[in-house]
């Protein structure tokens, strides 16, 4: 029997798939709880994310920067250099990213957020679906907050 996380991801991935197909973003669904997504930046480089959704939506997904085939995660050379959501720590700094929580990941900038409250966190700003998160990251990679380069 499918879990709540699997059902939610299946439903929300339909929207991600629709947008990715229209925009030419490479998307690979690895299993019911993980997918690999490529997003273009303003300097025409591509950034890739491995998205892990176990316990979603009780907990937010983990958005790992990764390489083009998803075999290597959280390396500086795969992470955009920037500010705001594109935090210098190398994790996407938003309540909708599990890695932003210090309680989950030591690099997480926020020890002050409660992960169970992520959807009501004032900084979530309506980013409560996988498509909203993906589009937001794409927008950040094309904003002045992206410094056109990589952390390593």
């Amino acid at each position: 029997m499918a879990t709540l996380a699997e059902l939610t991801v299946a439903e929300e991935l339909a929207a991600v798939r629709e947008i990715a197909a229209a925009r030419g973003w490479p998307l690979t669904v690895l299993d019911p709880l993980r997918f690999h997504l490529g997003l273009p930046a303003s300097d025409r480089s591509m950034f890739y994310l491995l998205v892990v959704c176990d316990n979603y939506p009780v907990q937010p997904p983990a958005w790992h920067w990764c390489n083009a085939d998803g075999t290597r995660t959280d390396q500086a050379s795969d992470k955009p250099k920037g500010s705001g959501y594109l935090h210098p720590s190398g994790v996407i700094c938003a309540p909708w990213n599990r890695l932003a929580y210090k309680s989950v990941d030591a690099r997480g900038p926020h020890g002050d957020w409660a992960i169970g409250n992520w959807q009501n966190n004032a900084h979530t700003h309506g980013c409560t679906t996988l498509a909203a998160m993906a589009v937001k990251i794409r927008v950040e990679l094309n904003s002045p907050r992206y410094n056109r380069g990589r952390l390593g």
């Binding site: 929207a15 490479p26 390489n67 075999t71 700003h125 498509a131 909203a132 589009v135």
Partner: protein, 129 residues
């Protein structure tokens, strides 16, 4: 007989080559997609009336496609997309075109240089925590 260091070096080269291949495949798929999209757009644009713009908007609930007059304000487009995609009215959204945030929202589509066809993103406001 090959020594372990040599093997490790060769494995590393193989990994790099595979990653390069994957990147090249991604770029090829992107180019194919662009060509296919251009053909579709050509067809769509043939059916547009003068002063109309075809907008394809990536929203938190998937794509919204709509035809608007070029003197439509950004606020009206946002309102329409929010209504059609049944997005929460408690959230504040903004439209983004490439690197440009379409603000202030009382400006028209035309005033941002949009013509005939544009891909936009509808995102909740906020620039990071």
């Amino acid at each position: 007989m090959t020594n372990p260091d040599e093997l490790t070096r060769i494995e590393g080269q193989l990994d790099d080559a595979l990653a390069g291949l994957k990147t090249a495949e991604g770029l090829e798929a992107e180019a194919e997609h662009e060509a296919e999209k251009a053909l579709h757009e050509l067809h769509d644009l043939e059916n547009l009336k003068p002063h109309e713009i075809l907008l394809e908007i990536a929203t938190p609930k998937g794509l919204f496609t709509g035809i608007f007059r070029d003197d439509t304000t950004v606020a009206t487009v946002i309102e329409t997309a929010v209504e059609k995609k049944d997005l929460s009215r408690k959230d504040t959204f903004e439209l983004v075109h490439g690197e440009t945030v379409l603000q202030p929202v009382n400006r028209t589509l035309e005033s941002f240089g949009l013509k005939r066809k544009a891909d936009l993103e509808l995102v909740a406001t906020g620039t990071g925590a």
